[in-house]
Amino acid sequence: MRMDNVASSQTRNQAGSQAQSQTDSQASSETRNLASSKTQNQTSSLASIQTRNQTSSLASSETRNQASSKTQNRASSKTQNRANSLTTIHDNDITTSHKDRSIEICGVRWKNPITTAAGTFAIRESGKYYDYTKLGSITTKGVAPQAWEGNPTPRIAETPSGMLNAVGLENPGVDAYIKNDLPILENQDVVVIANVAGHSEDEYIDVVKKLRGTRVDMLEINISCPNVSCGGIAFGTDAETAARLTAKIKKVADKPVIIKLSPNVTDIVSMAQAVEAAGADCISMINTLLGMRLNLKTGLPILANATGGLSGPAILPVAIRMIYQVSRAVDIPIIGMGGVSTGADAYEMLLAGAQAVAVGTAALSDPVAPIRILEELEGYL
């Protein structure tokens, strides 16, 4: 009881007003949603969807699809194709020793369905431990128009089967990225995805423009970082804002645009549909879930930023659920991520409806995890 009080009052002081108001508004909107759905449905918000559709929430998208037969055909043929291609590859397995695991996403051919998750892969540091050109693609850390300082430390806290991070998108800026990082990749045979960050529409557009004509093959727009006070997740939690940003980026981008979704929303499906309608070529999901841990001795948050993003095996089921729902409601491909630490997890994510899978936190507990997971996944394909 005493600890609670200490914790909450001190958190407020520590967190800084912006971070705090974000947390506050998040918490209160969540409470509101929970509360209202409870009153309406006498149950949780997930169950509320179930009640409405007389069936599961997954079925809810199917129900919706039935309303428009076009959508239904689209969805089912997509699932069918995926099933076919999985079987085809499986057949090849038996007859050929050199297996082709390649996939095509938005017209870009990947050698296989595995990529790195943004912020957990560094060309030099990770490249010391394995040959990343063996991966389907590499996704580099978020870059903004200028260098960002990020948050103060501690930025990392361990959680049961997971971790919190509040790096706050420290990055050297897009010019430094183009000058120092891209040249290393110039003559390497690997698909490069640049992860783009910004505080405002103009900042995102700035980065996207600067990446025109560069070595980068695809753009992943991070509208879902929970660790920066303005921008980032602000774009990822409101469908209209996300759609407007997507449309603007599409106008200036010269490569496929992947929109990275936040799980910190009430209705992930409507977010996905909004960015699809606005022209997104692909969706990646999920970014981290907002969380917090306290130091038992001081009662204060462990992270200097108070809150941080939860990643690692703990979030796998959340990612699987969201990918399952979204893949049945949109036509564009999905790059899945969130807690994948084995080939079996990656396969489960493909079965849930992702076309490709990114490995993040697993690479922090073992530098070669992306390659290991690729090799394990091959056993399933």
Binding site: A157, E170, L364
Partner: protein, 297 residues
């Protein structure tokens, strides 16, 4: 199959050093590749065997000789308590050595290493690291003590769990020809001393202080008038701050080893940064050892 740089190593000996309010223990580990390339101030990542504890525990290299790696660990939480259950014959999962040590911060060998890794990066590496790392280690080994000025006094300060890494440093300095009288060791403990004996084999100039006697390492520096030479320090931040003021007052060069919570320990996650005069740097890769004049404590 690409080899993981995390390998299983056998525990050769385990010993509890102090067992009071504070529990500190020692593990001797059969880890030839790590021991052979370890430099003072570097650390290893120790991994848990249970995947509910995902992150590596960074632990300094206390000693490395004849293929045996020594770690001295204080119990702070779940991970360090778990490692205390490891007995002779058990295995631990370790990656290392990692980071930039006391004798290679900012010197020529450091730049050499950078140029080596960038050469390798231009042509993607097929079966990577082991060779790459050993090139780096060789390069550094050949030159990392050459720049030492034989006339300089070396003052080594360890506070609490910052004592152990000073051991390999003292030993390396002695081996590279620094005279015993030019190596001076100041140890600060909260209560009981631990891991202090080895220092007396290297030099007679060992000063132990303890909070229980109301005497700390800066008191010892003042009492012994240790006002010239280079200082190396590892310990809690308040101690580092006090030593930094002392070094500034006497215009001495000070190298400090920093502690920070880590996500990866190898430079990938940017979780462990410290503010320096040249922008933010990574404790796990650019450090843990930094020139004190460069960092904001």
């Amino acid at each position: 199959m690409e080899q993981s740089p995390i390998k299983k190593y056998r525990v050769l000996a385990d010993k509890t050093l102090i067992h009071g309010d504070e529990i500190v223990y020692l593990l001797k580990i059969d880890a030839k590749d790590i021991a052979d390339s370890a430099r003072p101030g570097q650390f290893v990542n120790v991994y848990m065997d249970d995947s509910s504890k995902l992150l590596p525990r960074p632990i300094s290299i206390a000693d490395a000789e004849d293929g045996v790696l020594t770690l001295v660990i204080g119990i702070r939480g779940k991970g360090t308590a778990y490692l205390h259950t490891k007995k002779s014959g058990d295995y631990v999962r370790i990656m290392g050595p990692l980071g930039t040590g006391f004798l290679d911060a900012g010197d020529v060998s450091h730049e050499l290493v950078d140029s080596v890794s960038s050469v390798n990066l231009d042509s993607p590496i097929a079966s990577v690291d082991v060779t790459n790392l050993s090139v780096r280690a060789d390069l550094r080994d050949a030159s990392h003590t050459e720049h030492l000025d034989p006339a300089t006094k070396h003052i080594l300060i360890g506070g609490g769990i910052g004592v152990p890494p000073m051991r390999l440093l003292a030993k390396t300095l002695a081996k590279s020809g620094v005279k015993p009288d030019d190596i001076c060791v100041v140890l600060g403990y909260r209560d009981e001393p631990f891991y202090e004996n080895g220092f007396y084999e290297i030099t007679d100039l060992v000063y132990e202080t303890s909070d229980r006697d109301n005497r700390n390492v800066v008191d010892a520096l003042n009492d012994e008038k240790l006002t010239s030479g280079i200082i190396y320090a590892c310990g809690p931040t308040p101690m580092l701050k006090a030593v930094k003021s002392y070094a500034q007052l006497h215009e001495m060069k000070l190298l400090i080893s920093l502690e920070e919570r880590m996500g990866c320990g190898y430079g990938a996650c940017v979780g462990c940064t410290v503010k320096t005069t040249a922008g933010k740097k990574k404790v796990c890769k650019d450090g843990p050892v930094f020139d004190a004049s460069e960092v904001v404590l």
